[in-house]
Protein backbone atom coordinates (compact mmCIF):
# COMPACT_ATOMS: atom_id res chain seq x y z
CA UNK A 1 0.00 0.00 0.00
CA UNK A 2 2.77 2.41 -0.67
CA UNK A 3 0.34 4.14 -2.96
CA UNK A 4 0.77 7.80 -3.74
CA UNK A 5 -2.44 9.66 -3.13
CA UNK A 6 -2.70 10.90 -6.68
CA UNK A 7 -2.73 7.44 -8.20
CA UNK A 8 -5.72 6.02 -10.01
CA UNK A 9 -7.94 3.72 -8.09
CA UNK A 10 -8.28 0.96 -10.68
CA UNK A 11 -4.57 0.53 -10.89
CA UNK A 12 -4.30 0.28 -7.16
CA UNK A 13 -7.08 -2.19 -6.79
CA UNK A 14 -5.40 -4.78 -8.90
CA UNK A 15 -2.56 -4.96 -6.44
CA UNK A 16 -2.60 -7.23 -3.39
CA UNK A 17 -2.22 -5.07 -0.34
CA UNK A 18 -1.99 -6.74 2.92
CA UNK A 19 1.31 -8.48 2.57
CA UNK A 20 3.13 -5.35 1.51
CA UNK A 21 5.20 -4.42 4.54
CA UNK A 22 4.89 -0.64 4.50
CA UNK A 23 1.16 -0.21 4.68
CA UNK A 24 0.91 3.48 5.30
CA UNK A 25 1.49 6.55 3.25
CA UNK A 26 3.80 9.15 4.72
CA UNK A 27 2.07 11.96 6.56
CA UNK A 28 4.05 14.59 4.63
CA UNK A 29 2.67 13.45 1.28
CA UNK A 30 0.38 16.00 -0.36
CA UNK A 31 -3.12 15.22 0.80
CA UNK A 32 -5.04 17.55 -1.51
CA UNK A 33 -8.46 16.14 -2.37
CA UNK A 34 -7.58 13.09 -0.35
CA UNK A 35 -11.06 12.82 1.06
CA UNK A 36 -12.52 11.87 -2.28
CA UNK A 37 -9.76 9.38 -2.99
CA UNK A 38 -11.12 5.91 -2.48
CA UNK A 39 -9.02 3.05 -1.27
CA UNK A 40 -11.98 0.77 -0.82
CA UNK A 41 -11.61 -2.92 -1.45
CA UNK A 42 -13.97 -5.83 -1.72
CA UNK A 43 -14.13 -8.26 1.19
CA UNK A 44 -15.15 -11.81 0.42
CA UNK A 45 -16.07 -14.42 3.03
CA UNK A 46 -15.94 -18.00 1.84
CA UNK A 47 -17.46 -20.57 4.16
CA UNK A 48 -16.50 -18.76 7.34
CA UNK A 49 -16.84 -20.70 10.57
CA UNK A 50 -15.99 -19.16 13.93
CA UNK A 51 -15.70 -20.83 17.30
CA UNK A 52 -15.39 -19.72 20.91
CA UNK A 53 -13.82 -22.80 22.42
CA UNK A 54 -16.49 -25.44 21.80
CA UNK A 55 -19.18 -22.96 20.85
CA UNK A 56 -19.78 -22.89 17.12
CA UNK A 57 -20.84 -19.26 16.73
CA UNK A 58 -20.65 -18.77 12.96
CA UNK A 59 -21.59 -21.64 10.67
CA UNK A 60 -20.42 -21.39 7.10
CA UNK A 61 -21.08 -17.80 6.12
CA UNK A 62 -20.24 -16.66 2.58
CA UNK A 63 -20.78 -13.01 1.68
CA UNK A 64 -19.22 -10.50 -0.68
CA UNK A 65 -18.95 -6.99 0.75
CA UNK A 66 -18.59 -4.78 -2.30
CA UNK A 67 -16.19 -1.84 -2.38
CA UNK A 68 -17.76 1.59 -1.79
CA UNK A 69 -20.97 0.05 -0.61
CA UNK A 70 -22.56 -0.09 2.81
CA UNK A 71 -23.47 -3.61 3.85
CA UNK A 72 -25.59 -4.05 6.96
CA UNK A 73 -25.56 -7.15 9.11
CA UNK A 74 -28.82 -7.70 10.93
CA UNK A 75 -30.19 -10.45 13.09
CA UNK A 76 -31.25 -11.10 16.68
CA UNK A 77 -28.80 -10.91 19.58
CA UNK A 78 -26.33 -13.77 19.62
CA UNK A 79 -26.85 -14.64 15.95
CA UNK A 80 -23.12 -14.22 15.25
CA UNK A 81 -23.18 -11.00 13.26
CA UNK A 82 -20.65 -9.28 15.51
CA UNK A 83 -18.47 -12.37 15.45
CA UNK A 84 -18.45 -12.34 11.66
CA UNK A 85 -17.22 -8.77 11.46
CA UNK A 86 -14.67 -9.35 14.23
CA UNK A 87 -13.26 -12.16 12.11
CA UNK A 88 -12.80 -9.76 9.20
CA UNK A 89 -10.15 -7.70 10.97
CA UNK A 90 -8.96 -10.70 12.96
CA UNK A 91 -10.03 -9.28 16.30
CA UNK A 92 -11.86 -12.54 16.91
CA UNK A 93 -8.61 -14.37 17.53
CA UNK A 94 -7.76 -12.03 20.43
CA UNK A 95 -10.26 -13.92 22.56
CA UNK A 96 -8.65 -16.92 24.28
CA UNK A 97 -9.85 -20.16 22.73
CA UNK A 98 -11.36 -18.47 19.68
CA UNK A 99 -10.59 -19.73 16.18
CA UNK A 100 -11.91 -19.55 12.63
CA UNK A 101 -12.17 -21.73 9.55
CA UNK A 102 -12.82 -20.76 5.97
CA UNK A 103 -11.37 -17.94 3.92
CA UNK A 104 -11.56 -14.18 4.16
CA UNK A 105 -10.31 -12.37 1.08
CA UNK A 106 -9.44 -8.72 0.74
CA UNK A 107 -9.76 -8.39 -3.02
CA UNK A 108 -7.75 -11.52 -3.83
CA UNK A 109 -5.56 -11.69 -0.73
CA UNK A 110 -6.33 -14.20 2.01
CA UNK A 111 -5.98 -12.30 5.29
CA UNK A 112 -5.17 -15.52 7.12
CA UNK A 113 -2.32 -16.40 4.77
CA UNK A 114 0.94 -17.29 6.49
CA UNK A 115 2.80 -14.26 5.15
CA UNK A 116 0.15 -11.83 6.36
CA UNK A 117 0.86 -9.86 9.51
CA UNK A 118 -2.24 -9.49 11.67
CA UNK A 119 -1.17 -5.94 12.56
CA UNK A 120 -1.21 -4.85 8.93
CA UNK A 121 -4.60 -6.50 8.41
CA UNK A 122 -5.98 -4.25 11.11
CA UNK A 123 -4.38 -1.18 9.61
CA UNK A 124 -6.20 -1.88 6.38
CA UNK A 125 -9.47 -2.99 7.99
CA UNK A 126 -10.48 -0.48 10.65
CA UNK A 127 -13.14 -0.95 13.28
CA UNK A 128 -15.52 1.27 15.24
CA UNK A 129 -16.95 -0.31 18.35
CA UNK A 130 -20.38 -0.30 19.93
CA UNK A 131 -19.41 1.76 22.94
CA UNK A 132 -17.39 4.89 22.18
CA UNK A 133 -13.89 4.15 23.50
CA UNK A 134 -11.62 7.16 23.14
CA UNK A 135 -8.32 6.80 24.97
CA UNK A 136 -8.93 8.45 28.36
CA UNK A 137 -5.39 9.73 28.82
CA UNK A 138 -5.33 11.54 25.49
CA UNK A 139 -6.59 14.83 24.12
CA UNK A 140 -8.91 15.03 21.12
CA UNK A 141 -5.93 15.65 18.86
CA UNK A 142 -3.92 12.78 20.34
CA UNK A 143 -6.86 10.43 20.04
CA UNK A 144 -7.11 11.06 16.31
CA UNK A 145 -3.34 10.80 15.92
CA UNK A 146 -3.22 7.69 18.13
CA UNK A 147 -3.55 5.22 15.27
CA UNK A 148 -0.67 6.83 13.43
CA UNK A 149 1.52 6.95 16.52
CA UNK A 150 0.59 3.42 17.54
CA UNK A 151 1.78 2.19 14.18
CA UNK A 152 5.14 3.81 14.81
CA UNK A 153 4.84 7.01 12.79
CA UNK A 154 6.34 10.21 14.09
CA UNK A 155 5.99 13.78 13.07
CA UNK A 156 3.33 16.39 12.79
CA UNK A 157 -0.12 14.99 12.09
CA UNK A 158 -1.91 18.34 12.15
CA UNK A 159 -3.27 18.11 8.63
CA UNK A 160 -4.23 14.46 8.89
CA UNK A 161 -6.00 15.08 12.20
CA UNK A 162 -7.96 17.96 10.71
CA UNK A 163 -8.96 15.97 7.64
CA UNK A 164 -10.04 13.04 9.73
CA UNK A 165 -12.10 15.20 12.05
CA UNK A 166 -13.67 16.89 9.02
CA UNK A 167 -14.32 13.46 7.56
CA UNK A 168 -15.99 12.37 10.77
CA UNK A 169 -18.12 15.52 10.87
CA UNK A 170 -16.60 16.63 14.16
CA UNK A 171 -14.17 19.34 13.11
CA UNK A 172 -16.50 22.33 13.54
CA UNK A 173 -17.41 21.23 17.05
CA UNK A 174 -13.90 20.64 18.36
CA UNK A 175 -11.53 22.76 16.26
CA UNK A 176 -11.07 25.26 19.10
CA UNK A 177 -10.32 22.68 21.77
CA UNK A 178 -8.19 20.00 20.19
CA UNK A 179 -6.13 19.88 23.37
CA UNK A 180 -9.13 19.06 25.56
CA UNK A 181 -9.49 15.47 26.79
CA UNK A 182 -11.35 13.17 24.41
CA UNK A 183 -13.56 11.75 27.11
CA UNK A 184 -14.90 15.23 27.84
CA UNK A 185 -17.02 15.06 24.68
CA UNK A 186 -20.62 13.86 24.57
CA UNK A 187 -21.34 10.24 23.66
CA UNK A 188 -22.18 11.03 20.05
CA UNK A 189 -19.12 13.23 19.69
CA UNK A 190 -16.97 10.53 21.26
CA UNK A 191 -18.22 8.03 18.71
CA UNK A 192 -17.43 10.42 15.85
CA UNK A 193 -14.02 10.93 17.46
CA UNK A 194 -13.53 7.17 17.31
CA UNK A 195 -14.56 7.23 13.65
CA UNK A 196 -12.04 10.02 13.02
CA UNK A 197 -9.41 7.94 14.79
CA UNK A 198 -10.25 4.96 12.60
CA UNK A 199 -10.21 6.82 9.27
CA UNK A 200 -7.03 8.72 10.20
CA UNK A 201 -4.97 5.61 9.48
CA UNK A 202 -6.63 5.50 6.04
CA UNK A 203 -8.00 1.98 6.04
CA UNK A 204 -9.68 0.42 3.03
CA UNK A 205 -12.53 -1.20 4.88
CA UNK A 206 -14.33 0.23 7.91
CA UNK A 207 -16.25 -2.12 10.18
CA UNK A 208 -18.82 -0.61 12.50
CA UNK A 209 -20.13 -2.84 15.26
CA UNK A 210 -23.45 -1.29 16.30
CA UNK A 211 -21.89 2.16 16.20
CA UNK A 212 -25.04 4.03 17.19
CA UNK A 213 -26.66 1.67 19.66
CA UNK A 214 -25.35 3.63 22.65
CA UNK A 215 -26.35 7.01 21.19
CA UNK A 216 -29.38 9.27 21.20
CA UNK A 217 -31.49 9.68 18.00
CA UNK A 218 -29.83 12.91 16.86
CA UNK A 219 -26.32 11.53 17.28
CA UNK A 220 -27.49 8.37 15.53
CA UNK A 221 -28.72 10.42 12.58
CA UNK A 222 -25.34 12.16 12.36
CA UNK A 223 -23.55 8.82 12.33
CA UNK A 224 -25.86 7.54 9.61
CA UNK A 225 -25.27 10.61 7.45
CA UNK A 226 -21.59 10.14 8.04
CA UNK A 227 -21.77 6.53 6.85
CA UNK A 228 -23.14 7.77 3.53
CA UNK A 229 -20.15 10.08 3.18
CA UNK A 230 -17.65 7.45 4.25
CA UNK A 231 -18.77 4.90 1.70
CA UNK A 232 -17.33 7.11 -1.02
CA UNK A 233 -13.92 6.31 0.39
CA UNK A 234 -14.26 2.96 2.11
CA UNK A 235 -16.05 -0.32 2.09
CA UNK A 236 -18.44 -0.10 5.04
CA UNK A 237 -19.70 -3.07 6.98
CA UNK A 238 -22.14 -2.08 9.68
CA UNK A 239 -23.63 -4.35 12.32
CA UNK A 240 -26.92 -3.16 13.66
CA UNK A 241 -29.84 -4.53 15.58
CA UNK A 242 -31.92 -1.63 14.36
CA UNK A 243 -33.69 -2.61 11.15
CA UNK A 244 -34.73 0.93 10.32
CA UNK A 245 -31.12 1.89 10.47
CA UNK A 246 -30.15 -0.90 8.10
CA UNK A 247 -32.91 0.20 5.74
CA UNK A 248 -31.73 3.81 5.89
CA UNK A 249 -28.01 3.36 5.38
CA UNK A 250 -27.28 0.06 3.68
CA UNK A 251 -27.00 -0.78 0.00
CA UNK A 252 -27.06 -4.47 0.80
CA UNK A 253 -28.18 -6.30 3.89
CA UNK A 254 -27.30 -9.67 5.30
CA UNK A 255 -29.66 -11.39 7.71
CA UNK A 256 -28.19 -13.90 10.12
CA UNK A 257 -29.83 -16.35 12.48
CA UNK A 258 -28.18 -18.83 14.85
CA UNK A 259 -24.77 -18.40 13.27
CA UNK A 260 -26.01 -18.95 9.73
CA UNK A 261 -26.48 -16.51 6.90
CA UNK A 262 -30.14 -16.77 6.00
CA UNK A 263 -30.37 -14.19 3.27
CA UNK A 264 -28.17 -11.61 1.63
CA UNK A 265 -29.19 -9.12 -1.02
CA UNK A 266 -30.10 -5.55 -1.85
CA UNK A 267 -31.59 -3.84 1.19
CA UNK A 268 -34.86 -2.93 -0.56
CA UNK A 269 -35.51 -6.48 -1.62
CA UNK A 270 -34.60 -7.96 1.74
CA UNK A 271 -37.03 -5.70 3.56
CA UNK A 272 -39.89 -5.68 1.08
CA UNK A 273 -39.74 -8.99 -0.74
CA UNK A 274 -37.45 -11.44 1.02
CA UNK A 275 -36.93 -14.92 -0.36
CA UNK A 276 -36.89 -16.70 2.95
CA UNK A 277 -39.64 -17.13 5.47
CA UNK A 278 -37.31 -16.47 8.42
CA UNK A 279 -36.20 -13.16 6.93
CA UNK A 280 -39.75 -12.06 6.44
CA UNK A 281 -40.68 -13.03 9.99
CA UNK A 282 -37.73 -11.09 11.34
CA UNK A 283 -38.11 -7.91 9.30
CA UNK A 284 -41.81 -7.78 9.98
CA UNK A 285 -41.17 -8.10 13.69
CA UNK A 286 -42.63 -11.57 14.25
CA UNK A 287 -39.59 -12.49 16.36
CA UNK A 288 -36.25 -11.13 17.50
Amino acid sequence: MSTEPGEVREEERTRPTVATPSPLRTPEAPRAAAHVQSHARTVVLEGLHAYYGDTHAVRGVSITFAANEVTAMIGPSGCGKSTVVRCINRMHEEIPGARTEGRILLDDKDIHAKDVDVVSVRRVIGMVFQKPNPFPTMSIYDNVAAGLRLSGQRGNFKERVEQSLVGAGLWEEVKDRLGAPGIGLSGGQQQRLCIARTIAVEPEVVIMDEPASALDPISTLKIEELVQELKKRFTIIIVTHNMQQAARVADKTAFMLSGELIEFGPTDKLFTNPDKKETEDYVTGKFG
Binding site: V119, R122, R123, G126, M127, K131, P136, T137, L150, S151
Partner: protein, 294 residues
Protein backbone atom coordinates in the same frame (compact mmCIF):
# COMPACT_ATOMS: atom_id res chain seq x y z
CA UNK B 1 -59.64 -3.82 34.37
CA UNK B 2 -62.82 -3.33 36.18
CA UNK B 3 -63.31 -0.51 38.61
CA UNK B 4 -62.76 -2.09 42.02
CA UNK B 5 -63.40 -0.68 45.44
CA UNK B 6 -60.33 1.28 46.57
CA UNK B 7 -58.06 -0.95 48.63
CA UNK B 8 -56.57 0.59 51.78
CA UNK B 9 -52.82 1.13 51.54
CA UNK B 10 -51.09 -1.41 53.75
CA UNK B 11 -47.54 -0.48 54.74
CA UNK B 12 -47.19 -1.55 58.38
CA UNK B 13 -44.63 0.13 60.65
CA UNK B 14 -41.31 -1.63 61.39
CA UNK B 15 -41.86 -4.37 63.93
CA UNK B 16 -40.54 -3.58 67.41
CA UNK B 17 -38.46 -6.73 67.47
CA UNK B 18 -36.68 -5.85 64.26
CA UNK B 19 -36.04 -2.31 65.44
CA UNK B 20 -34.48 -3.69 68.65
CA UNK B 21 -32.26 -6.12 66.77
CA UNK B 22 -31.13 -3.32 64.50
CA UNK B 23 -30.21 -1.10 67.45
CA UNK B 24 -28.25 -3.88 69.18
CA UNK B 25 -26.32 -4.80 66.06
CA UNK B 26 -25.40 -1.19 65.39
CA UNK B 27 -24.19 -0.87 68.97
CA UNK B 28 -22.07 -4.02 68.78
CA UNK B 29 -20.40 -2.97 65.54
CA UNK B 30 -19.73 0.52 66.87
CA UNK B 31 -18.06 -0.90 70.00
CA UNK B 32 -15.87 -3.20 67.90
CA UNK B 33 -14.81 -0.29 65.76
CA UNK B 34 -13.93 1.74 68.87
CA UNK B 35 -11.89 -1.16 70.29
CA UNK B 36 -9.93 -1.30 67.05
CA UNK B 37 -9.26 2.41 67.28
CA UNK B 38 -7.85 2.27 70.84
CA UNK B 39 -4.36 0.94 70.02
CA UNK B 40 -4.11 3.23 67.02
CA UNK B 41 -4.90 6.29 69.08
CA UNK B 42 -2.56 5.16 71.86
CA UNK B 43 0.33 4.64 69.43
CA UNK B 44 -0.08 8.11 67.99
CA UNK B 45 -0.51 9.58 71.49
CA UNK B 46 2.68 8.02 72.87
CA UNK B 47 4.65 8.81 69.74
CA UNK B 48 3.77 12.46 70.06
CA UNK B 49 4.13 12.58 73.84
CA UNK B 50 7.53 10.90 73.98
CA UNK B 51 8.86 11.87 70.60
CA UNK B 52 8.06 15.57 70.31
CA UNK B 53 10.43 16.34 73.18
CA UNK B 54 13.37 14.96 71.22
CA UNK B 55 12.62 16.90 68.07
CA UNK B 56 14.76 19.95 67.42
CA UNK B 57 16.79 21.34 64.55
CA UNK B 58 19.92 19.64 65.86
CA UNK B 59 18.06 16.36 66.08
CA UNK B 60 17.80 16.25 62.27
CA UNK B 61 21.17 17.78 61.45
CA UNK B 62 23.63 15.88 63.66
CA UNK B 63 24.75 12.29 63.65
CA UNK B 64 24.53 10.06 66.71
CA UNK B 65 27.67 10.62 68.79
CA UNK B 66 27.81 7.09 70.06
CA UNK B 67 28.69 8.38 73.55
CA UNK B 68 27.01 6.78 76.54
CA UNK B 69 27.13 9.94 78.57
CA UNK B 70 26.31 13.48 77.62
CA UNK B 71 24.86 14.53 74.26
CA UNK B 72 23.68 11.47 72.30
CA UNK B 73 23.44 13.43 69.05
CA UNK B 74 20.69 13.38 66.42
CA UNK B 75 19.51 11.02 63.70
CA UNK B 76 20.79 12.60 60.49
CA UNK B 77 22.65 9.49 59.37
CA UNK B 78 19.57 7.35 59.99
CA UNK B 79 17.30 9.59 57.93
CA UNK B 80 19.73 9.75 55.03
CA UNK B 81 20.38 6.01 55.27
CA UNK B 82 16.69 5.17 55.20
CA UNK B 83 16.08 7.43 52.20
CA UNK B 84 19.02 5.95 50.27
CA UNK B 85 18.35 2.31 51.14
CA UNK B 86 14.62 2.56 50.47
CA UNK B 87 15.26 4.60 47.33
CA UNK B 88 17.47 1.91 45.84
CA UNK B 89 15.01 -0.77 46.93
CA UNK B 90 12.28 1.13 45.07
CA UNK B 91 14.39 1.35 41.93
CA UNK B 92 14.80 -2.42 42.05
CA UNK B 93 11.34 -3.53 43.12
CA UNK B 94 9.03 -1.18 41.20
CA UNK B 95 10.19 -1.82 37.60
CA UNK B 96 10.43 -5.56 38.16
CA UNK B 97 7.12 -5.70 40.01
CA UNK B 98 5.27 -3.75 37.31
CA UNK B 99 6.98 -5.88 34.67
CA UNK B 100 5.76 -9.07 36.32
CA UNK B 101 2.26 -7.63 36.62
CA UNK B 102 2.29 -6.62 32.93
CA UNK B 103 3.30 -10.12 31.99
CA UNK B 104 0.53 -11.63 34.11
CA UNK B 105 -2.21 -9.33 32.82
CA UNK B 106 -1.24 -8.86 29.18
CA UNK B 107 0.46 -12.11 28.22
CA UNK B 108 0.29 -14.83 30.88
CA UNK B 109 -3.42 -14.43 31.63
CA UNK B 110 -4.81 -17.80 32.69
CA UNK B 111 -1.89 -19.98 31.60
CA UNK B 112 -0.55 -22.46 34.13
CA UNK B 113 2.74 -20.59 34.31
CA UNK B 114 1.01 -17.29 35.09
CA UNK B 115 -1.13 -19.00 37.71
CA UNK B 116 1.99 -20.48 39.28
CA UNK B 117 3.66 -17.06 39.33
CA UNK B 118 0.57 -15.58 40.99
CA UNK B 119 0.69 -18.31 43.61
CA UNK B 120 4.36 -17.70 44.40
CA UNK B 121 3.80 -13.96 44.56
CA UNK B 122 1.10 -14.62 47.15
CA UNK B 123 3.43 -16.88 49.10
CA UNK B 124 6.16 -14.22 48.98
CA UNK B 125 3.74 -11.65 50.40
CA UNK B 126 3.39 -13.83 53.47
CA UNK B 127 7.09 -14.50 54.03
CA UNK B 128 8.25 -12.83 57.28
CA UNK B 129 10.59 -9.94 56.66
CA UNK B 130 13.37 -11.44 58.76
CA UNK B 131 13.56 -14.33 56.31
CA UNK B 132 14.45 -11.93 53.52
CA UNK B 133 17.13 -10.43 55.76
CA UNK B 134 18.47 -13.87 56.57
CA UNK B 135 18.46 -14.84 52.91
CA UNK B 136 20.48 -11.78 51.90
CA UNK B 137 22.77 -12.34 54.89
CA UNK B 138 23.58 -15.83 53.67
CA UNK B 139 23.73 -15.05 49.97
CA UNK B 140 25.38 -11.62 49.91
CA UNK B 141 26.91 -10.86 53.32
CA UNK B 142 28.51 -14.17 54.35
CA UNK B 143 29.85 -14.72 50.85
CA UNK B 144 31.47 -11.31 51.07
CA UNK B 145 30.21 -10.00 47.74
CA UNK B 146 31.60 -6.44 47.67
CA UNK B 147 32.54 -6.42 51.34
CA UNK B 148 30.44 -7.62 54.23
CA UNK B 149 27.61 -5.39 55.41
CA UNK B 150 26.49 -2.72 52.96
CA UNK B 151 23.57 -0.40 52.38
CA UNK B 152 22.80 -1.87 48.98
CA UNK B 153 22.40 -5.34 50.48
CA UNK B 154 19.75 -3.90 52.76
CA UNK B 155 18.12 -2.43 49.65
CA UNK B 156 18.03 -5.83 47.99
CA UNK B 157 16.40 -7.35 51.08
CA UNK B 158 13.78 -4.58 51.15
CA UNK B 159 13.25 -4.93 47.40
CA UNK B 160 12.51 -8.63 47.82
CA UNK B 161 10.03 -7.71 50.52
CA UNK B 162 8.37 -5.05 48.39
CA UNK B 163 8.36 -6.94 45.10
CA UNK B 164 5.27 -9.09 45.74
CA UNK B 165 3.37 -6.11 47.12
CA UNK B 166 4.15 -4.01 44.04
CA UNK B 167 3.30 -6.93 41.75
CA UNK B 168 -0.03 -7.65 43.38
CA UNK B 169 -1.21 -4.05 43.45
CA UNK B 170 0.01 -3.41 39.89
CA UNK B 171 -1.78 -6.50 38.63
CA UNK B 172 -5.06 -5.31 40.11
CA UNK B 173 -4.65 -1.83 38.62
CA UNK B 174 -3.66 -3.12 35.16
CA UNK B 175 -6.60 -5.50 35.11
CA UNK B 176 -8.87 -2.52 35.72
CA UNK B 177 -7.87 -0.89 32.42
CA UNK B 178 -10.94 -1.50 30.26
CA UNK B 179 -10.47 -4.13 27.61
CA UNK B 180 -12.26 -1.87 25.14
CA UNK B 181 -9.17 0.37 25.12
CA UNK B 182 -6.89 -2.53 24.25
CA UNK B 183 -9.31 -3.59 21.51
CA UNK B 184 -9.51 -0.05 20.14
CA UNK B 185 -5.74 0.17 19.94
CA UNK B 186 -5.35 -3.30 18.43
CA UNK B 187 -8.04 -2.53 15.86
CA UNK B 188 -6.06 0.55 14.82
CA UNK B 189 -3.24 -1.77 13.84
CA UNK B 190 -1.03 -1.34 16.88
CA UNK B 191 1.42 -4.09 17.80
CA UNK B 192 0.78 -5.59 21.22
CA UNK B 193 3.82 -4.01 22.90
CA UNK B 194 2.79 -0.55 21.74
CA UNK B 195 -0.70 -1.12 23.10
CA UNK B 196 0.89 -1.97 26.43
CA UNK B 197 3.28 0.99 26.54
CA UNK B 198 1.15 3.69 24.89
CA UNK B 199 -2.31 2.79 26.14
CA UNK B 200 -2.35 0.40 29.09
CA UNK B 201 0.53 1.84 31.13
CA UNK B 202 -0.46 5.52 30.81
CA UNK B 203 -4.06 4.69 31.68
CA UNK B 204 -3.02 2.73 34.76
CA UNK B 205 -0.23 5.10 35.78
CA UNK B 206 -1.87 6.80 38.78
CA UNK B 207 -2.81 3.46 40.26
CA UNK B 208 0.65 2.04 39.62
CA UNK B 209 2.27 4.97 41.42
CA UNK B 210 -0.10 4.64 44.35
CA UNK B 211 0.55 0.93 44.73
CA UNK B 212 4.29 1.42 44.49
CA UNK B 213 4.31 4.20 47.08
CA UNK B 214 2.36 2.06 49.52
CA UNK B 215 4.85 -0.78 49.02
CA UNK B 216 7.70 1.66 49.59
CA UNK B 217 6.04 2.94 52.76
CA UNK B 218 5.72 -0.61 53.99
CA UNK B 219 9.38 -1.40 53.24
CA UNK B 220 10.64 1.80 54.85
CA UNK B 221 9.47 0.71 58.27
CA UNK B 222 11.06 -2.75 58.21
CA UNK B 223 13.84 -3.44 60.70
CA UNK B 224 14.57 -7.11 60.34
CA UNK B 225 15.83 -7.12 56.72
CA UNK B 226 18.33 -4.37 57.60
CA UNK B 227 19.65 -5.82 60.86
CA UNK B 228 22.18 -8.11 59.30
CA UNK B 229 22.49 -6.60 55.85
CA UNK B 230 23.06 -2.83 56.13
CA UNK B 231 24.06 -3.06 59.78
CA UNK B 232 24.49 0.28 61.55
CA UNK B 233 27.04 3.01 61.92
CA UNK B 234 26.85 6.37 63.61
CA UNK B 235 28.26 8.57 60.89
CA UNK B 236 26.47 9.76 57.77
CA UNK B 237 27.47 8.03 54.58
CA UNK B 238 26.19 8.52 51.06
CA UNK B 239 27.91 5.37 49.85
CA UNK B 240 25.54 2.45 49.52
CA UNK B 241 28.59 0.18 49.41
CA UNK B 242 29.29 0.97 53.07
CA UNK B 243 27.53 0.00 56.25
CA UNK B 244 24.65 2.34 56.68
CA UNK B 245 22.45 3.61 59.45
CA UNK B 246 18.67 3.66 59.10
CA UNK B 247 15.72 4.80 61.16
CA UNK B 248 14.35 1.38 62.15
CA UNK B 249 17.82 0.20 63.21
CA UNK B 250 18.43 3.42 65.10
CA UNK B 251 15.19 2.90 67.02
CA UNK B 252 16.02 -0.73 67.64
CA UNK B 253 19.44 0.11 69.09
CA UNK B 254 18.45 3.20 71.08
CA UNK B 255 15.46 1.75 72.83
CA UNK B 256 17.63 -0.95 74.43
CA UNK B 257 19.89 1.61 76.12
CA UNK B 258 19.46 2.51 79.78
CA UNK B 259 19.99 6.27 79.35
CA UNK B 260 16.76 8.26 79.23
CA UNK B 261 17.99 10.69 76.58
CA UNK B 262 18.93 7.88 74.20
CA UNK B 263 15.55 6.23 74.66
CA UNK B 264 14.01 9.61 73.94
CA UNK B 265 15.97 9.67 70.70
CA UNK B 266 14.32 6.36 69.76
CA UNK B 267 10.91 7.97 70.21
CA UNK B 268 11.95 10.95 68.15
CA UNK B 269 13.23 8.68 65.41
CA UNK B 270 10.00 6.67 65.50
CA UNK B 271 7.96 9.85 65.15
CA UNK B 272 10.13 10.92 62.22
CA UNK B 273 9.69 7.55 60.53
CA UNK B 274 5.93 7.61 60.96
CA UNK B 275 5.79 11.15 59.61
CA UNK B 276 7.82 10.15 56.53
CA UNK B 277 5.56 7.18 55.85
CA UNK B 278 2.49 9.31 56.43
CA UNK B 279 3.69 11.78 53.81
CA UNK B 280 4.21 8.95 51.30
CA UNK B 281 0.74 7.63 52.01
CA UNK B 282 -0.81 11.05 51.60
CA UNK B 283 0.93 11.51 48.25
CA UNK B 284 -0.32 8.08 47.19
CA UNK B 285 -3.88 8.99 48.12
CA UNK B 286 -3.69 12.33 46.35
CA UNK B 287 -2.55 10.63 43.14
CA UNK B 288 -5.20 7.96 43.46
CA UNK B 289 -7.94 10.55 43.80
CA UNK B 290 -6.93 12.09 40.50
CA UNK B 291 -7.11 8.84 38.57
CA UNK B 292 -10.09 7.65 36.62
CA UNK B 293 -9.55 3.96 37.06
CA UNK B 294 -8.48 2.15 40.23
Amino acid sequence: MSVAAPRPVSIPPVAARRRRTDRIMRGVLLVMTLIALVPLVLVVYYLLKQGLGAISWDFFTTDPTGRFLGDPGGIRSAIIGTILIVGLATLIAVPIGIGVALYLVEYGKKSWFAQAVRYFVDVMTGVPSIVFGLFIYIVLVLTGVGGTFAGWKGSVALALLGLPIVTRSAEVVLALVPNSLREAALALGAPRWRVVFRIVLPTALPGLITGSLLAVARAAGETAPLLFTAFAVNGTTWDLGQQMNSLPIQIFNDVRQPQANIVERAWGAALTLVAMILILTLIARAIQRRSRYA
